[in-house]
């Protein structure tokens, strides 16, 4: 990473405008042409004044994850911010309000906790806001302006973002916020800068005009919409709820339907029903919701009905850690349900991947006539990245059911074919009359429990999916870094792959022979790509955010090859340093005794 690479962290209480300030910052930076990754943390409590943190990493070269230590830290609420001061790197900046309203006890002010090698910047945000706007509500904008002034960021770029943010409100709202921002900007610009944080302008020619700041959930919605989704059925659950909320607004505008059902079981049932009727239908949930959906998903498998389920993982089991991230639903997504119920599971590793996977999920579901799960997690759902959406929708249009135009004879909806894919029909099509049931059935769909039939149907439903690993236009697994034989290979999935990439590149700079591979398709597993990777690596490390090493088990069980597990369940993304330390340890010699 060369040039600008600055991570800002803003910490405050719910109601302080913490997330709003971070939002304006990241959107402005993206519009200027920087690469941006951002992640907001909200309190778990619905009521009260819980902690909010907005972290925004701004860089010229592409970054893959948030940094462990921020360069600049802004406190809008010292009580919440004090525990995080240590997350600021040496010679980075800690910015705070130095004029609290009332007397405070010893240790309650953040200045008591700033480390000796960090640089303090105090300013009277509350007073400035009060002076220029008549109240203290805009102190978040004052503080944001202070940061912009301190680091010489262009004032106009922020004005534009503020204008857009408040475009739906009265013009006076924008004016007040711009006034507050400008007052903070002037204060920041007049301060003697002592830290070594450098915000160099984006490279000449960097065009942020098409770049959009999207969350993983936002990109997922965009992918669903660009794939021309017809209907969505959902039941709210953190961290997937915003998918439903966005679709509730956007889907009807495109002629689609969004229905909030009474629970997750109804949501998946309606999704499968709509899929059976020929619609492109999807639902979204989290681990607890997926647990409820598994029985219905089995119906989708045996009845070979296309459906798309977005699953954003959070800490579990049960209610678990609803506002913390985790990757512990891999087993549930891949194996969950009764019987042999193999389905396609995609796990994008970044925000753009969410877009691609959500969109192509319909194509896969229709082609392979099966439920498709897109497995993301809270870190990816809520993480912002700069994305340049394609100008042309990149997804295949809805498949035309094969029965169209037929006129006579029994329709073998579940016919055995060479590739396992049977002709499909939707209700009402001439010549497409067939039976559909959750019972094992024959080629016509009629209940049939003969041993040979069940054997053949089970194999059919399994084998037809294998071709999905070679589906054109879909990256099912990809290797990064050094090619050929390497000492340490790092295999990853989902949001953790960003940290894996950063760690791998850092290790490479240290002279360690290493390479990384992301696995996007978790089911069926693209063995033809993963096995050669194992062949090239003396040892393979699998970092993931679950306790049991679920990908490690899946891969080592499928390939019969040992891996070294690196499992963390802290509720937070895995730290680059944690992965890097393990790579260094493995590079020193043969694997220790924790190979799975």
């Amino acid at each position: 990473m060369t040039g600008t690479d600055v991570q800002f962290a803003i910490c405050g209480s719910a109601g302080d405008g913490t997330i709003a300030a971070g939002d304006i910052l990241k959107r402005t930076m993206a519009a200027m042409g920087y690469k941006v990754i951002a992640f907001d943390i909200y309190p778990a409590e619905i009521r009260g004044f819980g902690k909010c943190i907005s972290r925004v990493r701004v860089s010229i070269e592409q970054a893959y994850s948030l940094k462990r230590r921020s360069d600049v830290f802004l406190s809008l609420n010292d009580a919440h911010a004090i525990p995080h001061v240590g997350e600021v790197r040496d010679f980075g900046a800690v910015v705070y309000d130095d004029a609290p309203i009332a007397t405070i006890p010893e240790g309650a002010h953040i200045s008591a906790h700033i480390r000796p090698a960090q640089l303090p910047y105090g300013a009277s945000f509350r007073q400035i806001s009060d002076k220029v706007t008549g109240n203290a509500r805009a102190r978040n904008l004052v503080a944001l302006g202070y940061l912009a002034g301190l680091y010489g960021m262009p004032r106009d770029a922020f004005h534009k973002t503020i204008g857009r943010k408040f475009a739906t409100k009265a013009a006076s709202v924008t004016q007040v916020n711009v006034r507050a921002f400008d007052a903070g900007y002037d204060a920041g610009a007049s301060v003697f800068k002592l830290d070594d944080v450098v915000m160099a302008p984006p490279p000449v020619g960097a065009d942020g005009s098409r770049a959009q700041m999207m969350t993983g959930n936002g990109a997922t919605v965009r992918g669903l919409l660009d794939a021309d989704i017809d209907c969505f059925f959902g039941y709210p659950i953190t961290p997937a709820t915003s998918i439903m909320e966005r679709l509730a607004t956007d889907l009807p505008k495109r002629g689609g339907r969004m229905l909030q059902t009474e629970d997750e079981i109804s949501a998946i049932a309606a999704t499968i029903g709509a899929g059976y009727a020929g619609a492109r239908a999807a639902t979204a949930t989290s681990g607890p919701g997926l647990a409820l959906m598994t029985e219905m998903m089995g119906l989708g498998v045996i009845a070979e009905v296309p459906s798309v389920t977005i699953v954003s993982q959070r800490g579990g089991p049960s209610t678990g850690l609803p506002t913390k991230t985790e990757q512990s639903d891999l087993n549930l997504a891949v194996y969950g349900g009764s019987g042999d119920a193999q389905r396609i599971v995609l796990a994008p590793t970044n925000v753009e991947g969410c877009y691609r996977c959500a969109g192509i999920a319909f194509e896969l579901a229709e082609k392979f006539q099966t439920p498709v799960i897109v497995l993301i997690d809270l870190y990816l759902s809520n993480r912002y990245e700069t994305v340049i959406p394609p100008e042309v929708k990149p997804f295949a249009p809805k498949a035309i059911p094969d029965a169209a135009g037929r006129s006579s004879g029994p329709f073998k909806r579940f016919a055995f074919t060479d590739d396992g894919l049977s002709p499909r029909a939707i209700p009402g099509q001439n010549g497409g009359v067939h039976t559909i049931t959750g019972l094992e059935h024959n080629e016509l769909g009629r209940p049939a429990d003969q041993a040979d039939n069940h054997q053949r149907m089970s194999r059919k439903r399994h084998d037809k999916l294998l071709a999905a690993t070679r589906h054109p236009g879909l990256t099912v697994a990809k290797r990064f870094g050094r090619t050929g034989k390497v000492d340490v290979g790092i295999l990853g999935w989902g949001s953790t792959f960003g940290e894996i990439l950063e760690a791998m590149y850092a290790a490479e700079r240290e002279g360690i022979s290493c390479s990384a591979m992301k696995v996007v398709m978790l089911s069926p597993l693209p063995v033809h790509l993963i096995e050669p990777f194992f062949d090239d690596c003396r040892i393979v490390l699998v970092p993931e955010l679950n306790h049991e090493g679920q990908l490690a088990h899946l891969v080592s069980g499928t390939l019969g090859r040992p891996v070294v597990r690196l499992d963390r369940v802290t509720g937070a993304p895995m730290e680059v340093d944690t992965i890097l330390a393990e790579i260094r340890r493995l590079a020193l010699g043969p694997a220790a005794g924790n190979a799975a």
Partner: protein
């Protein structure tokens, strides 16, 4: 020594830093807080001229690695201004309204630049030289081979003048009663020293009192004298000695004149408060007066001695020794003030 005691030291210059390290060495169990208005960890003010020799990164000016405060378990509170002390309740209140209790307090806030009344209104047209930030601002305003006008010319200013001459700048000294402060010298000695400065390359102006400063195009400043004559330079810097920074001590319940009055053990009239460095006036039994003892070395030694006395010692600071100023073998002005 005394588990649980909270020592607070205000001022993180050489006196304050010397004090906290001494306190920690003598009282491993104590809580120690070092308070400073500076945003930077400890650097020696006498090192600031190095900026003009190329040390422009403040990290290279630090006297110690910042992490030493973590290692010594000393809480360093920077960017923190103390507004008031309550000597009875043994609390201090920061400008950010935080109230902190202490068991023993050492004040070593040093002195701020003194400015004659006639020049106060022109403060914005002059450059101070007390902090790293000041040094940076001077350097930015001063072109290569540019001219600096030193008003007054105390020993801090003359120390800077040596560096500026060495680095190819031109220096004009407007000499007056504060020239060579805090040395007290007679007219003959003064003339001898000024001549030495001239030989060293300083343009010395005598017998003229500055009454105004003007902004100009190039060079950027003009100093106007009472006879309406003027000289021009790129930067004007006042060096009229220093005044103890003790405003926050008003109401603290300690005796003060210009500085905090302390006994030879550096203890004030309040049982829990000590003072060291340029901020204090020390009682001299021999001279029967309170006197300031300036100079880099004195300041450091005072901080260390005060810390020892706060932790049970009963040492007295030598207030009889006066430091000398003269001309060394190579013909340059030399002063004990500059001894580190």
């Amino acid at each position: 020594m005394s588990a649980g005691l909270h020592y607070v030291v205000i001022g993180a210059g050489s006196a304050g830093h010397g004090a906290v390290t001494t306190l920690r060495a003598r009282d491993p169990a104590a809580r120690i807080t070092l308070v400073t208005m500076s945003r930077l960890p400890f650097y020696n003010r006498f090192d600031l001229p190095r900026y003009f020799r190329g040390t422009t990164d403040w990290r290279n000016l630090l006297a110690v690695a910042p992490q030493i405060y973590d290692e010594l378990a000393i809480t360093l509170r920077r960017n923190s201004r103390v507004d008031e002390i309550d000597g009875r309740a043994r609390t201090l209140t920061f400008s950010h309204k935080e109230v902190v209790g202490y068991d023993k307090l050492l004040v070593c806030t040093g002195g701020g630049g003194h400015l004659p009344e006639v020049l106060v209104e022109y403060k914005s047209l002059m450059h101070g030289f007390a902090t790293f930030e000041d040094a940076t601002r001077v350097a930015r305003a001063l072109p290569a081979k540019g001219r600096v006008i030193l008003l007054g010319g105390d020993m801090i200013g003359l120390d800077l003048a040596r560096t500026l001459i060495d680095t190819g700048h031109r220096v004009t000294l407007v000499a007056g009663e504060f020239t060579f402060w805090p040395h007290r010298i007679d007219a003959a000695k003064r003339a001898e020293l000024l001549a030495a400065l001239s030989r060293a390359g300083v343009d010395v102006v005598t017998g003229r009192t500055p009454v105004a400063i003007e902004a100009a195009a190039k060079p950027a400043r003009r100093v106007i004298f009472e006879d309406d004559s003027a000289i021009a330079g790129d930067v004007v810097m006042p060096f009229f000695g220093s005044m103890p920074l003790v405003d926050f001590m008003l109401g603290a319940g300690v005796d003060m004149e210009r500085g905090i009055l302390v006994d030879p053990r550096l203890k004030s009239s309040n049982e829990s408060i000590w003072a060291a460095g340029d901020v204090c006036q020390i009682w001299s039994d021999e001279l029967k007066e309170y006197r300031f003892l300036h100079g880099w070395k004195n300041v450091r030694l005072m901080g260390e001695l005060a810390a020892r006395n706060m932790t049970g010692a009963a040492e007295e600071f030598d207030v009889t020794a006066d430091f000398a100023i003269g001309i060394d073998a190579s013909g340059h002005v030399q002063s004990d003030f500059w001894e580190q």
